[in-house]
Symmetry: C2
Subunit: 157 residues, 2 copies
Amino acid sequence: MDGTLTIGEVAERTGLAPSALRFYERRGLIAATRTESGQRRFRRDVLRRVAFVRVAQRVGLSLEEIEEALALLPTDRAPNREEWGRVSRSWRDRLDERIRLLEGLRTGLTECIGCGCLSLQRCWLSNPGDAAARLGPGPRFLLGNTADEVGGEPVSV
Amino acid sequence: MDGTLTIGEVAERTGLAPSALRFYERRGLIAATRTESGQRRFRRDVLRRVAFVRVAQRVGLSLEEIEEALALLPTDRAPNREEWGRVSRSWRDRLDERIRLLEGLRTGLTECIGCGCLSLQRCWLSNPGDAAARLGPGPRFLLGNTADEVGGEPVSV
DNA sequence: GTAAAGGTTAAAGTTAAGTTTAAGTCAAGG
DNA sequence: CCTTGACTTAAACTTAACTTTAACCTTTAC
């Protein structure tokens, strides 16, 4: 009634479980004040923050990356349009990057299907190029190749 | 010397740890024969299988999905070009799907940055549309909204 | 012939992003 | 008053995709 929301109300409006919201608070992604008796009260702008978190996750960002982006916003008041714009633009850049990566993979694969791929050494499948790129959360060390590992004698399949 | 590879050799050529290769064998992603003394020997075409697994992971597929795709290949002999082509094409379709999803997100976001986003109800950020879509491995129930959760009274931020 | 390097297993540990459980406090309706 | 539903915490559990550890055997090199 004073404009703030209980955890249950935020949960209902965002579609997240209360446990997830508490987890986000612990991680510092969202902030809450407390009532006398210790219950959380959220400002309405957490709805936007949560929405941002969820969209960023869909794109494959980890909570840690999202935390960094959201650190640009104030936690003690609702961010203004300019502040949100800065965050959204940085987010869109990440998205652009991921789209370019995926398109590169698709191009490589299309060529690979046509080429017969008789040599693993020359096949794009085994030499993705940008070994350092990672697509969001996943196994650790997924693409930690060294030059050694990519090199070596020719191998035919 | 007989054309087969030890686990260490496969590890070196693929850039994966031997432990990961054993793990993949347990999951059925790759197959090995055994020497008298129980050591694994891999046919050279596991290199291509492993390469495929890694590329598919980069795109965000889970090992389970990759398992399904690889199940189309024989494990007792090197797959031929036609067989690899079938698998690669199904993989490319998944990739196309993900690219389309990301592009949709980017379009939405671009509009959102320009629009001022004064109402969360109408803002694309809070109503991504295809709530069922998932981008690869991540938290469970990430996008499990119900109609209820998306609806409700207007909320301004 | 022996030591080092590399192979084997089963079982436990790791990280992310939460969920579930247990045990309890608080608020609202009848 | 008291019960029901919403809230609190800390701690344990979950899943994926591996890695690490421990205890042991085999192969290679000198």
